[in-house]
């Protein structure tokens, strides 16, 4: 079965969706991502949807869900690279994705995450060593 890769970048998780999301795939992504957030104790999730050209209300809801679930697990979600047509469709559908941060591209998204979360220590064990 198709799976969308979730990459780890420091304390962040990076998801680039390169195919059109059908419902099943979106649900699998949601499961995988939440498992990953919990396992890695990620502080931020960055979802790049610049290659997504078709969107429906289900996908809009999934994105909203991911954001809410991540927040419960203390991670911020940023959606980046939304195409104009997708944005217009979502607005027409009445989905404004409240609670989801957005940025124009991956670079700006990373910057936004860093600003929201603050500096993440490179190696947490070192930090504890210092304290002890």
């Amino acid at each position: 079965m198709d799976r969308i890769p979730i990459l780890r970048m420091g304390g962040f998780l990076l998801v680039t969706i390169q195919v059109d999301l059908y419902d099943r795939l979106a649900l699998t992504l949601e499961n995988d991502l939440m498992a990953m957030v919990s396992k890695m104790e990620a502080r931020g999730v960055l979802i790049d949807i610049s290659a997504v050209s078709i969107v429906d209300s289900f996908m809009g809801r999934i994105l909203g869900n991911i954001a809410s679930m991540s927040r419960i697990m203390d991670a911020e979600t940023v959606v980046v690279g939304m195409q104009p047509a997708v944005a217009i469709t979502l607005v027409e559908l009445g989905l404004t994705l409240a609670g989801v941060h957005t940025a124009l591209n991956v670079e700006m998204g990373m910057e936004l995450l860093r600003k929201k979360i603050g500096p993440i220590p490179d190696n947490e064990e070192d930090l504890y060593d210092d304290i002890i």
Partner: protein, 284 residues
């Protein structure tokens, strides 16, 4: 039409054209400022030749195949005239003035047969009336095309997206916002955001005469779409009366940054992007 009459008209073509031209030139409504006599003569001869040829086939139906060349010539003529600035009346009179010329010839040819003369006159009359209606129709169609093109151009011109600073776009909206225009505005703005990678868009509505709940809804939609793309939207140019209507209508703009002038919106944009603009003492 009997081919005999058609033949006699054909025989007298030169005189027909001459009389027609005289009639046209004598007419008070002649627009010699728009068309030269040579051009008028050429146009008239062109039309007359086609018309006589069609009459020669014995058909009197304007919709028939034989009349196709005549209607083609007429349509083209009235479209060019519409562009030149002729009034529909003047274009139509161009065809109708041919009637008199026809009658003169017919009268001369059929003087001895009043019954036939009457019949032929009625037929010629009907035919030329039909042709005149065609000029009118194409004239209106031509005007309509011009109007449609202008409408498109206006809606395109009236929503320019300007890059006022690196990372800052401004979109002055002039005129009433309806659904169709909002769509154009939104698309233009979002495309430009992707193109320039701008983080802030300023929607200036100082040129919007009135804001009702529909317009406000359109604005909110545009702002939401911009947010989804990852940019921020500031609405500026809100005049006192517009602020009053917004509050009276109970529209909630509290989670949208609004400013009274484009200048203050720009200032806000600068501070959001941590840009500082200072006056210096350097003289050029």
């Amino acid at each position: 039409m009997e081919s005999q009459t058609a033949a006699s008209l054909k025989k007298n073509k030169k005189q027909l054209l001459e009389t027609w031209m005289q009639n046209q030139l004598a007419d008070n409504t002649l627009r010699d400022d728009l068309i030269s006599n040579e051009d008028l003569n050429a146009q008239s001869e062109n039309l007359l030749t086609a018309l006589l040829k069609a009459l020669g086939t014995g058909s009197l139906e304007i919709e028939s195949e034989q009349f196709q060349p005549v209607t083609d010539i007429l349509s083209e003529l009235s479209i060019t005239r519409a562009r030149q600035g002729f009034s529909p009346r003047e274009t139509s009179m161009f065809v109708l003035s041919l009637k008199k010329a026809f009658y003169e010839i017919l009268e001369k040819e059929l003087r001895d047969n009043p019954k036939l003369l009457y019949q032929e006159s009625v037929e010629i009359n009907n035919l030329l009336d039909g042709l005149s209606i065609i000029t009118m129709e194409t004239f209106i169609k031509g005007r309509e095309e011009v109007i449609l093109r202008q409408t498109d151009e206006i809606s395109e011109i009236s929503t320019p997206v300007i890059r006022v600073w690196e990372g800052i776009l401004a979109l002055p909206i002039i005129g009433t916002l309806d659904s169709a225009r909002t769509q154009v505005v939104m698309e233009n703005l979002l495309e430009k955001i992707v193109e320039t990678g701008s983080r802030i868009a300023i929607l200036d509505i100082s040129g919007v005469p009135a804001v009702d709940s529909l317009v406000a809804q359109h604005l909110i939609k545009t702002v939401s779409a911009t947010r989804l793309m990852g940019a921020e939207c500031i609405i500026s140019g809100i005049r006192a009366e517009i602020a009053q209507t917004i509050v009276h209508l109970g529209i909630d703009l509290s989670n949208i940054s609004t400013k009274a002038s484009l200048a203050s919106a720009l200032k806000l944009a600068f501070s959001m992007l941590n840009i500082e603009v200072r006056r210096t003492n350097n003289k050029f």
